[in-house]
């Protein structure tokens, strides 16, 4: 009896949470007619917004991974003064409201910001540009790239890396031939999470780069101007696109297309 009760409790608690996540999505999907979805799909404004979101989220995922992996490697493998502080800084974007993040980014990347002003002279502007969207997305999603890769590096057996060093591999060769292939799945998972977080970002983006409108901004505008039904169609379209790319990336991260996870024969 006791053996059956505990799994049942797990299922009930898990089911409540799953229902909580699925019900609003179900509400959104059922509120959308096939016709409304077709209209949204052919609407150029929505098409551009969805494409912009996918594109910028993908760029953000690449940048977050390229910059996040070295930091993750340092955090996983080195003990240095201020280690805990660096980890706290990495986690900071997770703890602050995204509108606050947007305002903070304005101080740095806005037209008169610390970096925004000097860079504007070179022609690179962040306010109301695609670069601004990427900056906002990167700020809020970078912790996912760093933390996921850090966990992957921490899970590596240090003796495997030491074995490579004893066989004549330099630190760079050890990283490229051993650490990176073994941590690749975790790194890719981080990239997927960055992509997912970026494509859904609204708060920071709307403050730093209201135009060009990403999908969440366009859907919000549609909600204000045309009402719930039209915005729901666009929202379902974004949901489908995000889900499709998410599934593809998750499949990659699960291993069968990852170089580091190729299986020598048993």
């Amino acid at each position: 009896m006791t053996r059956g009760l505990f799994p049942a409790l797990l299922w009930v608690a898990g089911g409540v949470l799953l229902g909580f996540i699925l019900l609003p999505v179900l509400g959104l999907v059922t509120a959308t007619s096939p016709g409304g979805l077709r209209d949204a799909a052919v609407n150029e404004e929505i098409q551009d917004a969805v494409l912009l979101s996918v594109q910028d989220a993908a760029i953000t995922a690449v940048i977050a991974t390229v910059l996040g992996v070295p930091l993750a490697c340092l955090l996983a493998r080195r003990r240095f003064p201020g280690h805990a502080l660096v980890q706290a800084i990495v986690d900071l974007p997770l703890a602050i409201p995204h509108t606050v993040a947007g305002i903070a980014l304005l101080f740095v990347f806005g037209r008169t910001g610390w970096l925004g002003a000097p860079l504007q002279v070179t022609g690179l502007s962040f306010y109301g540009t695609q670069a601004g969207i990427v900056v906002a997305m990167l700020f809020v999603s970078a912790p996912f790239a760093v933390n996921s890769a850090r966990v992957a590096f921490e899970a590596l057996d240090p003796n495997v890396e030491r074995a490579a060093r004893s066989l004549g591999a330099s630190p760079g060769q050890t990283f490229r031939r051993v650490s990176l292939p073994l941590a690749w799945r975790g790194i890719l998972t981080g990239a997927v999470l960055v992509y997912a977080r970026s494509i859904s970002e609204f708060g920071a983006v709307v403050i730093l780069a209201y135009y060009p409108a990403t999908a969440p901004v366009a859907i919000y505008n549609l909600f204000l101007s045309s009402g719930l039904a039209e915005s729901a169609s666009a929202a379902v379209l974004l949901l489908l696109v995000a889900l499709a790319t998410f599934l593809v990336l998750r499949t990659l991260a699960s291993g069968w297309l990852v170089a580091g996870a190729t299986r020598p024969r048993r």
Binding site: D157, N159, V160, R162, A163, A164, R165, S166, L167, G168, A169, S170, P171, Q173, T174, R177, V178, P181, L182, G260, A261, T262, R263, P264, R265, R266
Partner: protein
């Protein structure tokens, strides 16, 4: 030749050394010590994975203390084999050669054949047994043509039959390799099978070093004696009639190492029951009741009613003759009087006069 001089390493409150070691080319030094003695730390420091507080490591005359691990030409075989899980057996063995651009070197095939793992070439490390993994690790280390080899308890995670089989493979390999090799273990049998020289490490300090046979016969340190199979009988005291341990009289003159106080140690497998062996002169004689017989293998343990109690290890076929009271003798070479523990790192090292230069040596500091 691999030389370690005045090496001192710290990790938290644990200190290893300062210690000195020399291992000549073609000789195998086995560092024997209990868990937590600092054995792996010693290898880590020699391999370049850990920076010493002070001291030098020299290989073939070159000071390699400041060199990174990849430039030291020191092969390491780890307890868990530490194979690259994303590479096949062949690619593991060929790793060092691939780094130098020799991706299809015939050397890999030779090593696979030599260690009997050619049929596993395309397999993944996770599908191998413990013994197979260590064979791959050994082949991988040798492929890099190391100038010295460090073995960090490579057999300790294996089952007994596999361990014994691989021990012989290892012994033959080390004989052929002709480079200095340091093998660390907590297993006495393994140590004595592989060692040319022994170094006893306990609590971060080198207690005694020298040729394996010499240390086994004549330990001068309590930790060394215990690790090499000697059993403490008890503290010795001077009496008008000579040396006593409890009620047992000891022929002090035949103990032979000049000590006058300390603890007497004996080898239980050398304790004779039922009369002395004519070939040896006993240092201890007594008559005692057989208190208990424990049928351990390969030798049974016979606990005797002496004060303090002696334990004898005897063949099972001789157990039937042990009834009631028996005559007990311990030959002189099976008794040692070991002085109270000298302060750590102040160990006087006993080396035989004919111990050839280039073997293992150690100095107190």
């Amino acid at each position: 030749m691999l030389t370690v001089s005045d090496l001192l390493t710290r990790a938290g409150s644990f200190q290893l050394g300062p210690l000195n070691l020399t291992v000549a080319a073609g000789r195998v030094l086995v560092v024997l010590g209990p868990s937590g003695a600092g054995k792996s730390m010693l290898l880590d420091t020699i391999a370049g994975f850990r920076t010493p507080r002070h001291g030098r490591v020299r290989l073939d005359g070159q000071d390699i203390t400041g060199l990174p691990a990849d430039l030291r030409r020191i092969g390491v075989v780890f307890q868990d084999a530490a194979l690259f899980p994303h590479l096949s057996v062949r690619d593991n063995v060929g790793f060092a050669l691939a780094l130098r651009g020799h991706r299809r070197s015939p050397k890999v095939g030779e090593l696979l054949a030599r260690f009997g793992i050619a049929h596993l070439a395309r397999r993944a490390p996770r599908s191998l047994s413990g013994g197979e993994r260590q064979r791959v690790a050994l082949a991988r280390a040798l492929a890099a043509r190391p100038a010295a080899l460090l073995l960090d308890e490579p057999l300790s995670a294996l089952d007994q039959p596999v361990r014994e089989e691989l021990r012989e493979v290892l012994r033959a390999t080390l004989r052929d390799l002709a480079v200095p090799a340091i093998h660390v273990t907590h297993d006495r049998d393994e140590a004595l099978r592989l060692a040319d020289d022994l170094a006893i490490l306990d609590a971060g300090a080198l207690r005694q070093t020298g040729p394996a046979a010499e240390l086994t016969r004549r330990p001068t340190d309590a930790a060394t004696a215990r690790l090499l199979g000697w059993t403490a009988l008890g503290p010795a005291r001077q009496d008008t009639g000579g040396l006593l341990v409890g009620d047992l009289p000891i022929e002090a003159t035949v103990l032979g190492n000049g000590a006058t106080r300390g603890t007497v140690y004996y080898r239980p497998e050398e304790v004779l029951l039922g009369g002395p062996d004519r070939r040896s002169s006993p240092a201890l004689r007594a008559r005692a009741q057989v208190l208990e017989v424990v049928r351990t293998v390969p030798l049974a343990r016979v606990v005797l009613g002496t004060t303090p109690p002696l334990t004898a290890l005897v063949l099972h076929r001789d157990l039937d003759e042990l009834n009631g009271e028996v005559e007990v003798t311990v030959p002189r070479e099976a008794l040692r009087l070991i002085e109270p523990a000298t302060p750590l790192r102040k160990v006087t090292v006993e080396l035989p006069k004919n111990h050839r230069a280039g073997g293992t040596s150690s100095e107190g500091d």
